[in-house]
Symmetry: C2
């Protein structure tokens, strides 16, 4: 299979995605939010979490009735800084966007705002929600639970999801600090990329039911064995990645009034997703300009650290993605041929115009 990538214009890709989602019954506003977030993810180089999954996760989820195209989410709140949302199984992007907006609104008055969400669906890359806080000069936080795929230290079977968390922090003149990590060594999307591109997996990403490394990306990883938590091995402190995954799980499921994924789910079943969003209003703590200046200085000092032999640049979170975004906004988004085919297939199947 050729792996030569096709260069696709971001705006055309956005409009195509909107058309496909509308055809599935998603109203324009929700389709627009979803398309913007998916394409922003591709623009930032996170190829695992962008339109590569439009067909397999979102269109398919809508077709099979797991995702509700016209949800009526409900928000309940007991205190100024907190709320819980029931997502009515809407598209994760639509639900996540609304919940993060609510967290930001609460942080405007209370200084901090937190919203725990149950009964939503897959929301793409966590970073895009955390980033919504930036234009409000707030620190944004977002997390989601996920299907069981990661084996806790000592266990031979998945007991938790890759449960990612993201934090975005405003800066002055430097690109914003945007940090997004799965709490496993790698996200499942990285295995999808390795499969698509025919690479083997490094030792330390996935293990089999005996704890031995799996390096073949085609080997099943959702039954026995599992992805490894960040840290990888007990000696290198895999309990930390696992503990972080548990924290994400608690904030995204249990705090929203739901049982944790392990109590309601199996690796084979995709249940509704839970999320957690937070916003901290910088000016409620310290003067904004001082904060932004210190952020710039911290990032600059870090980038200027002496480098190990062979290293060209010390990166801080968001740097690398900002470089890619600049390039892709100017020159288009390179998509793997398998992804382009999946979009063509959608166009044909749904009867929407294909112009990419």
């Amino acid at each position: 299979m050729t792996t030569k990538k096709r260069i696709i214009d971001a705006e055309k890709l956005t409009n195509f995605t909107i058309r496909a989602l509308q055809k599935m019954g998603v109203p324009y506003e929700g389709a627009r939010i979803t398309a913007d977030m998916l394409v922003l993810t591709d623009l930032r180089g996170v190829d695992s979490h962008g339109v590569a999954r439009l067909a397999s996760l979102y269109i398919k989820g809508l077709q099979e009735g797991r995702i509700n195209p016209t949800p009526k989410p409900e928000i309940s709140s007991q205190a100024l800084a907190t709320a819980v949302m029931d997502g009515d199984r809407g598209l994760g992007f639509v639900i996540g966007h609304q919940a993060m907006t609510e967290a930001i609104r609460r942080a405007e008055t209370a200084g901090a705002g937190f919203v725990s969400v149950r009964n939503s669906t897959h929301f793409g890359a966590s970073a895009v929600y955390a980033m919504m806080a930036l234009e409000h000069d707030m620190i944004g936080i977002s997390m989601t639970d996920a299907t069981l795929a990661v084996a806790p230290p000592g266990s031979s079977k998945p007991g938790i999801g890759t449960n990612p968390l993201a934090v975005a922090v405003p800066t002055g003149n430097k690109p914003p600090f945007i940090f997004d990590m799965a709490t496993s060594v790698v996200a499942i999307g990285k295995l999808e990329i390795a499969r698509r591109e025919g690479h083997s997996l490094p030792v330390g990403w996935v293990m089999d039911e005996d704890g031995l490394p799996i390096t073949d990306p085609d080997k099943r990883v959702r039954g026995e064995g599992g992805l490894l938590p960040l840290g990888g091995t007990p000696t290198l402190r895999s309990y930390k990645g696992f503990g972080l995954a548990m924290v994400v799980e608690i904030l995204c499921s249990v705090l929203a009034g739901e049982p944790a994924t392990i109590s309601r789910n199996s690796p084979e079943v995709r249940s509704p997703a839970g999320h957690f969003f937070g916003a901290l209003n910088v000016a409620s703590f310290s003067p904004l300009e001082t904060f932004k200046k210190s952020m710039d200085e911290m990032l600059e000092a870090t980038q200027n650290l002496p480098r190990l032999p062979g290293v060209e640049k010390v990166y801080v979170a968001g740097d690398y993605e900002a470089e890619i975004e600049k390039n892709r906004r100017a020159n288009g988004i390179p998509l793997h041929p398998a992804v382009v085919s999946s979009l063509k297939d959608i166009a044909e199947e749904l009867g929407v115009e294909y112009d990419l």
Copy 2:
């Protein structure tokens, strides 16, 4: 050197610590808070962060004037859920206890409370502050910045501290979920333990200035080279441990109105510390009893996962420490002879009664 441990009674150890701190000019209330937190840390088996450091960090810091025995901390607040505290270089335990109390108080009305602290000093183990939230049926969060010791991925020199974070979550019948991690592979205290006990360091904990492993715990780690961020290597995603350390740094320094440690510090100089405390009131999100029941079920299901060959138990955060605490409360705390000597030395130097 013998490594046979001495068994010390927790109450006697607490009272000795109070006397030593009082002798250094710390008022009873602050000495009591500090002693309780240090001994609780030892009771929970975190030998790296308990009384082992009473002499070298706290008494010495008071003697050398870096720690203010009678601080007048100031709190300023711009919004219901947030505050900033200036710790007036008080003992980190005293300042941390007051700031966490403030976060909890704010969470009682706003649902969430966050306090960023500047100008404090070393506060021991993060977990003890997060745990303060438990009796209020809140989720507790605590973090601290630390002296530069960890080399960011690609750098040959420390650019950030081991910046730990802790989260404590209430449960029903199970021991609470208490998670505390340095964002480096290991905390500096683990190197101190290896040194004390004459063990070599596993590959992947510390590197030299060429990026090669350091396994000798006596080799200097605060100049060139450094501790590795959680993840260890770029392939196993050390940018994640580093990114988490940056998040902690931002919340503990920059958000409190201070420059980040890297902008004001060098590996050789110990500057004032910054902390960050948070509390989320469970009942402001969801019914408390449902939450606790789901927590118990999650922990139980995790502990019951099938195990890898040779593994006796799957642990969740807090389990292991709860087992040790039960044992040590009943039977006393085993202290390494080097730690016992350091306490005897204090007693003699300060002229306080030694009865351990």
